[in-house]
């Protein structure tokens, strides 16, 4: 048996995000996570609570939080669950057994996505360089999450605080998204 390091090498593995622009807007890689797509009909949100500790959000475009876990509403029958990396196996198994009784789909996408945090006083301004949504607090309050567009990539955007967002995209789009945001914050360097 060969000795293989099982450390995750994410799409941002060899990237440094530190920049003089950090005062205005800080970009950082979110720590590698366990991620699941949960799909199903009306019974699923409550049923999943057994494994998750809280029900999946049924409010449109809202995140449900519990401890270090979050479930992002992405569609009326679709949630993206993000949890600490070490929970990949245990949470996956727990969800599978909790949901066993109701029609559902549970798919591990831990490695499909990469996560970024974008924070600071200019966070929404920088995101708006590519994101066409109204990111004012009134229109996009803390706790709101949605799939949307960032320039030429699809992203999931979740507002975690007044001036902080978490952004998720597919792995191979990560460098593009990061480069785009980097370019957008040039003026604050």
């Amino acid at each position: 048996m060969l000795d293989v390091p099982t450390r995750r090498i994410t799409a941002f593995a060899d990237r440094s995000f530190a920049s003089p622009a950090d005062k205005a807007v800080r970009i950082a890689e979110a720590s590698p996570a366990a991620r699941f797509v949960v799909r199903g009909r009306a019974a699923v949100p409550q049923t999943a609570a057994v494994a998750l500790g809280f029900p999946l959000a049924t409010d449109v475009c809202r995140a449900a939080l519990g401890g270090e876990r979050v479930a992002l509403w992405l569609g009326p029958d679709e949630w993206l669950v993000i949890a600490p990396e070490h929970e990949a196996e245990s949470l996956g198994a727990a969800l599978a057994s909790a949901l066993a009784g109701v029609p559902h789909a549970l798919v591990d996408v831990s490695h499909r996505n990469v996560g970024l945090t974008v924070s600071g006083p200019k966070a929404s301004y920088i995101l708006n360089h590519g994101c066409p949504l109204d990111l004012s607090l009134a229109a996009f309050p803390v706790g709101m999450c949605t799939r949307t567009i960032l320039a030429k990539a699809e992203v999931v955007l979740w507002r975690t605080a007044e001036d902080a967002f978490r952004l998720e995209c597919w792995r191979s789009f990560g460098p593009y998204v990061a480069d785009f945001l980097e370019e957008a914050r040039t003026e604050f360097k």
Partner: protein, 1002 residues
Amino acid sequence: MSAPFRLPAGGRIDRSKPLSFSFDGKSYPGFAGDTLASALIASGVHLMGRSFKYHRPRGFLTAGPDEPNALVGVGASDDRYTPNLRAPVVELHDGLVAESQNRWPSLSFDVGAINDVLLGRFIPAGFYYKTFMWPKSFWKSVYEPKIRAAAGLGRPPKDPDSARYTQVYHHTDILVIGTGPAGLAAALAAAKSGLRVLVCDEQPEFGGSLLHDLSSSIDGKTPAQFVADAVADLARQPNVTLLTRTTAFGYTPHNMIGLIERVTDHIAHADPKLPRERMWHVRAGEVVLATGAIERPLVFPENDRPGVMLADAARAYANRWAAKPGSRAVVATADDGAYRAALDLKAAGVEIALIADMRANPTGALVAQARAAGIRVETGSVVTGTRGRLRVKTAHVARLDANGNAGAPEPFACDLVLMSGGWTPTVHLFSQSRGKLRWDEALGAYVPGTSAERERSAGGCRGVYDLQAVLADGTAAGEDAVRAAKGMPGPSRGFMVTGSPATSGGYLGAVPHDRNPATVKAFVDFQNDVTAKDLKLATREGMRSIEHVKRYTTTGMATDQGKTSNMNALGIVSDSLKTPIPQIGLTTFRMPYTPVTFGAFAGASRGDLFDPVRRTPAHDWAVAEGATFEPVGQWKRAWWFPKAGEDMHAAVDREVKAIRTSVGLFDASTLGKIEVVGPDAAKFMELMYTNAWAKLGVGRCRYGVMLREDGFVMDDGVIGRIADDRFHVTTTTGGAPRVLAHMEDYLQTEFPHLDVWLTSITEQWAVIAVQGPKAREVIAPLVDGVDLSTAAFPHMSVRECKVCGVPARLFRVSFTGELGFEINVPADYGRAVWEAVHASGKPFGITPYGTEAMHVARAEKGYIIVGQETDGTATPDDVGLGWAIGKTKPDFVGKRALARPSMANADRKQLVGLLTKDPKTTLEEGAQIVADAHVEMPARMIGHVTSSYQSPTLGRSIAMAMVKGGRARIGSSLFVPMPDGVIEATVVEPIFYDKEGARLDA
């Protein structure tokens, strides 16, 4: 350096900041706050350019973005050079380099002026449609190159642009465009509501016409003070965003307005971190248009000489920039406004020779003021011509008789002619929004009528000109916008205006004169050299629609889009056709309001940001190995891995041989992957693919074919059943998004009752293909918990297991025809596992191979590539996949269409193999096929080569082709006519290697 026409005091220039710049190589002084135009005028320079067609000398007509004449190229180096900039809106900075355009050898002596003097009469509107047809060959060799060389204004930059551009989306409750009195009043009213308000103006400072108004007083303040206070007030409010140097260029549907902000062009040494321009995509709840009005020239003969200028422009140069536009002026007007200009210029030290007013009996307060100031006023008088070579020297003024005919003219010496034909409301944005204009007979202008979007106009842009009324109009518009946005307007504020007498007047069309109408030129569209005569000719030739007149004469099609000319053109056409203006209509206003830089539209989308570059987890490894890459969709895929001294051919040859004799390693991560999960997964698969799925055992795989509803092949791929309710579907690399969307479409809209859900897992898994007789030996040490023997794990199987200790989906599949495995591991482990496999394969000489070798290997096996063998017109049967159709299935997407008569036609193109007579000859992909060795043109083509390679395994060329009735031709000869000879080939089964597939089961 001194500027002889710089007024000793006044203006909004900053005299503490002197600057120097150059125009046509000569250096001039200026001050911060100057424009290129104001600084040149202060230096007495009026000759600015040559006109498009006749190369007539031209100066400044306006003081704003409506300028048609004074266009310059700006930029010291070619990576920063911009042609066709309007001198009146080029802000000066130290070291600015500008040059004139469309002249040779020099501005003051331009050979092209022969067009004016000698050729002018032979090149009326549309002349080229009537000439240059004989001899025919001369069009391409002589005429057209000449026409082209003569056309165009500036020269395009030669070097790539070095500037950056950014774009940003912005949402606001209220957008106010324009910050003259109307816009400021609207903004003040809107701001109080607490709603989000965005205010923009294209000029470097807010204030619009107030910036050159020295005589009015608003609430007891000078206009300048009023503006300063208003701006300070707005700037204090956190809900208000103020943007100067920002033009609203486009009003697009659903209140999306494009703004372009010029960030650095006015700065000598701009911070490189700043973009040159920033494009704002503003989604506004409500819009207030306060874009003002544009003054019109009078169309009299020789109205284009340098020194002939719009009256209010001259006033602005003097009042706002302390630049005296001349020493002695003749004023030609049909509007009271010009009297104000005359008064202000007189105060600035310009001698006013006389005011020639077309109107018989002008009565406004300003007329009286002018007379009182001792200015000679001649009513019922017009200018009928001017003299002077590079600058006006004399203006000829004549009286109009009772019938409106001009009498004998009297010359007046002057170096400045001010003209005003009245004002045209700036309805561009309103009109772009698809609002309907209304003809206002009293005003003699089109004004906004019915709205299409959530907007309202205020002030000059809807024909309200009286300052007191403008301010009230702006306030009302601001409040209206607040109410429409469901906000609360605060207490309404009134304004007290004095010193701003109301004005009236205006004229549309050509001014009467006594000159020879056949030879004299009275300009309507200055830049495109369109004269009153041209417009009349067009109507005579049957151009009745204003749209035809526009296109035939090119009036209004120049870079100013007719801002100063369209209404006069309309007046002339109305007159020629004896049709009232409202029945003629207007040409369409289109984006942009003023020209917008291409780079700003592109924004950050350049280089790698032009389109996302998608890379696999093992990408960097391949880079380090020296791989060549090919773009496939957005992906970069390793194409081949050349060793030192190898060309593509040698590399691919080696790679394929490695696959056949030992083992190759291939990055298949880009393949699309979809996880189809749910109790009804198999039912859904039955509907989406032609094949049967219900009976596919867990742990087994099947090659699936997907059709469009019209029966043609859309995609294919190997599909593994992971569990009863779980399929791992693979798709082509390029087809992945399309396939997922197609599945979603059917699932949601045709089969919504099915309990099944789709998740893209393309990027969850890195896919490492290990192919070749030694494949098992390479991976065996790495795989945990799977018996890899053929008996336990036959071809077309899948297992969930661990590879290198990480969770994996291991497929036993092959796209090469050899024993093969595809190891799917979570993507972040992809690189490590890839390296482990590579290390494990070292003893076998494991060879990384790219897409080219993959193609060759699969072609040897006769495997098709969707998009290469198929082109959207192939059925499964056409490409030999008839076996994949579940004939007994009641339904699948495309089933009914396959039953159409045309789909069973014997003459359809079918997939075959081709072997050239000469094994060394490789056919060209895309080459066409004929049945007869003797080729006559046009040839009857029966098919084409879809794939063709030198097969390293067979040591000869092989090809696949789509040929009409191909399967029936197996064994016969076909011919491929190439430019250098016809190639003969034998039709064979499209499978060249290991027909029995024994190697797959090794």
